[in-house]
Amino acid sequence: MPLQLNLLHEEISQERQRKRDPLKLSMYVAVALAGLLALNYLWSAYRTLTIKAHLSSIERDWSKVEPQVTAAQKRAEQLNAIITTTKTLDQFIDNRFFWAPMLEKISRCVTPNLQIINLEGLIDEQGKAITISLEGTAAGREPRAVAEDFRQMLLEQVGKEQPAVKVEFRTLEDLDTLVSVGGNNVPAAHFTVSVTLNTGSKPPAPGPADRKSKSKKEEES
């Protein structure tokens, strides 16, 4: 077997050692890692820039819409206030007590042998109860019966629309003097009738237009 002498053995082993140098290898790994990180950074930066551009466009849109929204919110507040106020005022208008139809009913009950000398009507603070006091003189053979007929008629007339009405005598006294009715002297009685209404139990009020036409008809009749 021939003897082989590798004179470069030392050099080759040094070369091999240089190639396997862990520091060099770790440098390669570090460079590769740095490259990956740089790529990741660039990708993240690209995504950030895209979002930034999108955000700018949305901000531009918002700056256009914002004044409109503020104005719309103000207008909505204004409109809601108007609606609430109108509703409250309409409630006041609808809950009013109309005296003219009541006076008409009273006038229908007054017969020629009866005279009302004083009428006083009052609505309480809450506007729920109405009290009407009627003071007058009834004349006839039976003056108390005339006064009672008046009370009954009043109860019937007012009770048509106000079922919870109360019509009561406060006073009913015979007078000493005679009264002339149709040329005949007849006895008379002095009376005070109280009418109490509770508006809380009344049916829903008609609309203003209906009320107007109704009153006009009443006026004509």
């Binding site: 990741n40 995504r47 207008r75 409109l79 004083n118 009320r211």
Partner: protein, 184 residues
Amino acid sequence: MNKEQTKKIILGTFGVIGLLYVYFAFFLGPLNKSRYSMAARMGELQNKLTSSKAEIANVAKLEASARAATVRYETLLTQYPEGAPIAWFPPRIRTFFSSQQIDRSSARLEGTAGFTEKELSSWNKYTWIIDLPQADFGTFGRALAALENSEPLLSVNRLRIHAATEDPEFQQVSLTALTIIGKK
């Protein structure tokens, strides 16, 4: 691996850890933070835009549905003239009753009060005493009906009619009326 190389590897590992720290703490971290905050702001604005568009559409609808209320409000507000009510209400009542064939009438202010309700903060209550010293019952009834119909914001709270002793054909009437008048 000799001692020198191990030392270099350990140092290299520290170097890599340092590099990673710097990368995440000073580069990627702030970038991501800014991206997340922008994304959150974008979402917020997007929601605002969507809700605003809906709100604008709702206001347009409200405007359409509130048209009747707005017209009614304007009508009620223009029911009475501008200026202090004490200046124009008594002459107005006198003119009204004159047109109803009741020549003698007078109105005087009894009191003024504001409303406690928030929605009526721009309106005031005025209480008036209206005296009609010489009125025929029938004529007065018709006049009262006309007054109640023509003045929707007027409510008669007290009414007194009594026979005039000197002239039995006429009655003396006294009304306490409450009016709601807008502050102008």
